[in-house]
């Protein structure tokens, strides 16, 4: 029986990875579909008529009827859903109720901005969390380790927008080193782009980094207590080498998992930060669309955010599979 365990598992390794990835992608597609149903249902079935919401309470029935006809809202809901979701998959999110322009180009423009902001935020968070969390764990009983712990604990308590306002008041208003807001596309001026990106990305990344560093510290502490770390020392590895060769990769598994959760929080945090720093991202667009009661646009933006978060979760799942061979088999 034990012999069979080796012989059956070893040669199928590549196949196991592929199967696991395929299964994850299948689950991803399923989740996207369910999410699209939820988003569509929420916005269309819940009380309040799309046309009424757009035209206001004073609109005549005739106005409403013609609006509904113009935007295809008079068709049965399943047809509308099918139309919307097939359009979404081909990059067509319908025509805006308020601006009468196609929704998709606006969303994609804003999405690019938000992706840059969120990407920079998560990058800052990870760059802060991994080294500081590891250090705080390794030196848990030393003064510097305790100080790091305390600082990260304080960081967790600060909300995103407050961090943003603090950064603005110090670096933009007080010292005048950075602009207090606005956005320049990288192609139009890379220097300005970086200067304007710095503060919002920091506001997002610092807080997430503080939280992530707590997880990193906990994960590294856990790993340092593991039996195989003692084995590594018993082999003759110095403590630092044991941690580098055996510890960190093991600690990475839970950290990567938490990073995906943190990413979702970061996307939501970005909506607020974009407002604070006047950045034309998805968050700002969403706020405007809600203000305009432009439900078709809201629907497109929300769906985009959902896909984005699910996509990151998928990538994280696949990354975990690559790190940890135990997740590869079907068991």
């Amino acid at each position: 029986m034990s012999t069979a365990a080796v012989s059956s598992a070893a040669p199928r390794k590549g196949a196991d990875v592929t199967m696991t990835v395929l299964r994850r992608i299948g689950v991803f597609a399923l989740t996207v579909w369910v999410a699209s149903l939820v988003v569509f249902t929420l916005l269309n079935v819940l009380p309040g008529d799309m046309a009424r919401a757009q035209l206001g309470m004073n609109a005549t029935d005739a106005d409403v009827a013609s609006f509904r006809a113009e935007h295809g809202l008079d068709r049965p809901l399943p047809v509308q859903y099918f139309d919307w979701i097939t359009g979404f998959l081909t990059g067509d999110m319908g025509i805006s109720y308020s601006s009468r322009a196609p929704v998709a180009p606006q969303v994609f423009d804003a999405l690019q901005v938000s992706l840059i902001l969120v990407g920079a935020g998560i990058l800052i968070a990870v760059l802060i969390a991994l080294p500081l969390g590891t250090l705080a764990a390794v030196r848990q009983n030393k003064p510097d380790g305790v100080l790091l712990s305390a600082v990260s604990q304080a960081g967790i308590a600060i909300p995103n927008f407050l961090a943003g306002l603090l950064l603005i008041s110090i670096f933009a208003v007080g010292l005048g080193w950075m602009p207090s807001g606005g956005w320049t596309a990288p192609a139009e001026g890379f220097g300005d782009f970086l200067r304007q990106l710095a503060l919002p990305a920091l506001a997002l990344g610092l807080v997430r980094g503080a939280i992530l560093s707590r997880y990193t510290r906990a994960a590294v502490l856990d790993v340092m207590r593991d039996d195989f770390m003692r084995t590594a020392r018993a082999k003759g590895l110095m403590p630092g080498a044991a941690l580098r060769r055996h510890g960190l990769r093991n600690a990475l598994v839970p950290v990567v998992t938490v990073t995906s959760v943190e990413f979702s929080a970061l996307v939501i945090g970005a909506v607020v930060i974009e407002t604070v720093f006047v950045i034309p991202g998805l968050g700002s667009l969403l706020m405007r669309a809600v203000d305009n009661r432009d439900l078709i646009q809201v629907q497109g933006i929300v769906m985009c955010v959902v896909v984005l978060v699910l996509l990151v979760n998928l990538l994280v799942d696949i990354t975990r599979t690559l790190i940890d061979p135990r997740l590869r088999s079907a068991r």
């Binding site: 029986m1 012999t3 012989s7 009983n141 084995t231 003759g236």
Partner: protein
């Protein structure tokens, strides 16, 4: 074998005056220990005796919060206590190496096995590339891992426990160390695997000319591999000498008690198991508070008659049955221990298949039970033995209605319990109770003992609950005031008593014990077995005792069924079955038990 005295001139490791403690308590009190070249020394003690700490101190791997003083000298290296980390690192894995207890967690789960072995060679010998690869494969071959080329590429989770322990041994022996330190290396393994690993370890050490310091609580294991032993208790070495002398003529009362308890010796007069306290009354019981000696405080001890007599009436008629050695007998499995009268428990053709259909097909199926049929009569003590994975735990879960069988029938007092809804099984929850293996994990840490024990009582007044709990606690040998405490305040043996009290509060007909004494020290084990013995009689219980430990089952049960690969292969009266095993599997199991007296 080697004569212990011959080695004393060529000392390899010399530990003297070793003291280890936290800031408040001292855990090891002035231990002296010498190991000669090529000598194989066993360090024996129960949990908390300080044996593992002594070994970790020798390796310089004690946890940082412990203070250590004294001297640890390795021939050619000088003093190791207080040596720099760099110097210790160069000694570890090359001159001294170590095999750990838990093969499941001792290896890095994310690194291929071959690389983990290669690492220790590269580290100390600087070998690289093809020669290194060749050396790794040779090592894997030498520890008898099947198909070394494949094993080298495997991750630890793809190997069985026994194979992983071979890998750990291969790592430890990779640089032909002068001294191998082994900390309970076979405790987590099945007996048959344990035997193989012990033989392998003996061979490896002999071939490399290494010395061995072997830590264990199991005297039988020590007897099979060591030539000199040290008995450790409460941080002190209480007795030492050549194995034959110590085991045949123990001087210290604790050694005598330990020997009696681990051999499950019974008192000639009472038929009860000898406990460490009963043999060696030192007046100083340090273990857990009130842990030792509690076995004697159990009620109705006076009535205890000889063991065999009680077992007599129930087991007298049990026939000795053996299943065919042919593997294909699934279609018509025999009904073991069948009775003409109505059995209390009737199990018929129970099968359990695990497995799941994959999202993209390709589900894997495991047959945990492949048609199990037997009867248990009221008042019987029915033992089920087998190695890990044989299906005994699955069977127990099905019998208690905690798991569903794939097919088959289980009747308790003539009532079918399979395929019933939880609501319909309320009577079963009262009639059948279980004591689980892990006394640490099976009690809710946030509940007071009173609530733990009284939880199954429904609709009883507060006073009634309290008085019944207190009465039961006394019966299992715990003070009444224990009711107000929480589980973490008790030792393992005491928690198992609490678990037994919880099981008995519903006044069940059947008590199921799932490896109930496997996690306990031998001296505590004897006490808990004595307690079970009393309670089974006092409460007119029928007992189903599941264990991997054949000796324990032999003592605790009158009828025994041996399971292998999801089937019962042999069943009969305990005495007969152990004396004359008919099935080859039973014979090999019995053959593998390490024995104290050779």
């Amino acid at each position: 074998m080697n004569d212990a005295d011959a080695h004393s001139s060529a000392g390899l490791l010399e530990i003297s005056g070793l003291e280890i403690g936290t800031s408040s308590t001292r855990l090891v009190h002035g231990v002296d220990l010498q190991i000669g070249r090529g000598e194989r020394v066993g360090l024996i003690g129960e949990s908390g005796s300080g044996k593992s700490l002594t070994l970790l101190a020798a390796m310089g791997l004690l946890p940082e919060n412990l203070k250590v003083s004294g001297s640890v000298r390795l021939d050619g290296e000088g003093e190791l206590l207080g040596a720099s980390e760099r110097r210790m690192a160069s000694v570890r894995g090359s001159r001294m190496s170590m095999v750990f207890q838990e093969p499941m967690t001792a290896l890095n789960p994310l690194m291929r096995v071959g690389e983990q072995i290669a690492e220790i060679i590269r580290l100390h010998q600087g070998v690289k590339g093809q020669p290194l690869q060749t050396q790794v494969l040779e090592l894997l071959d030498s520890v008898k891992v099947p198909d070394p080329a494949r094993a080298e590429r495997a991750y630890p989770h793809e190997l069985s426990g026994g194979q992983r322990q071979r890998i750990v041994l291969a790592m430890a022996m990779a640089n032909q160390p002068d001294l191998l330190l082994a900390d309970e290396p076979t405790t987590a393994l099945d007996v048959t695997v344990q035997k193989q690993v012990l033989e392998l370890m003996g061979d490896q050490v002999r071939q490399a000319g290494s010395s061995l310091l072997f830590i264990t609580h199991d005297l039988g294991v020590v007897a099979s591999i060591c030539d000199r032993v040290l008995i450790m208790r409460h941080g002190r070495i209480v007795e030492s000498g050549p194995l034959q002398t110590v085991f045949s003529d123990p001087q210290h009362p604790y050694t005598r008690g330990l020997l009696a308890a681990s051999a499950l010796e019974t008192d000639q007069q009472t038929g009860r198991l000898m406990t460490v306290g009963a043999v060696g009354q030192e007046g100083r019981q340090q273990g857990g508070p009130g842990q030792s000696g509690l076995g004697q405080t159990g009620p109705q001890q006076e009535q205890t008659g000889p063991q065999q007599e009680q077992a007599g009436p129930a087991s007298g008629a049990a026939p000795h049955e053996v299943s065919s050695e042919e593997p294909q007998t699934f279609d018509q499995a025999a009904i073991f221990n069948q009775t003409d009268a109505e059995p209390l428990l009737a199990v018929r053709e129970v099968r359990r298949t695990y497995g799941r259909a994959g999202l993209f097909g390709g589900g894997r199926q495991v047959q945990a039970l492949r048609g199990v049929s037997f009867d248990v009569r009221a008042g019987q003590r029915f033992g089920i033995v087998g190695e890990s994975g044989c299906g005994k735990s699955t069977l127990l879960r099905i019998l208690t209605g905690l798991d569903e069988a794939t097919s088959g029938s289980v009747e308790v007092s003539g009532q079918e319990i399979l395929g019933k809804k939880e609501r319909q099984l309320r009577w079963l929850r009262e009639a059948v109770q279980i004591v689980f293996q892990d006394p640490m994990g099976s009690l809710d840490p946030r509940m007071r003992i009173e609530d733990v024990v009284a939880e199954p009582l429904r609709g009883a007044s507060r006073e009634e609950r309290r008085s019944r709990v207190e009465a039961l606690l006394e019966e299992v040998g715990l003070p009444r005031r224990a009711a107000d405490r929480c589980p973490h305040e008790f030792s393992g043996g005491q928690r198992q008593r609490i678990a037994i009290a919880r099981a008995l509060i519903t006044r069940p007909k059947i008590l199921m014990a799932d490896e109930a004494v496997s996690a306990l020290d031998v001296s505590v084990r004897a006490q808990v077995l004595n307690l079970l013995d009393d309670l089974v009689r006092d409460y007119d219980l029928t007992m189903l005792f599941v264990s991997h430990d054949l000796q324990v089952v032999r003592h605790a049960c009158d009828t025994v069924a041996v399971m292998n690969a999801g089937q019962i292969v042999e069943c009969g009266p305990a005495d007969v079955l152990f004396a004359q095993p008919q099935h080859s599997y039973t014979a090999s199991l019995l053959e593998s038990i390490p024995r104290v007296a050779g």
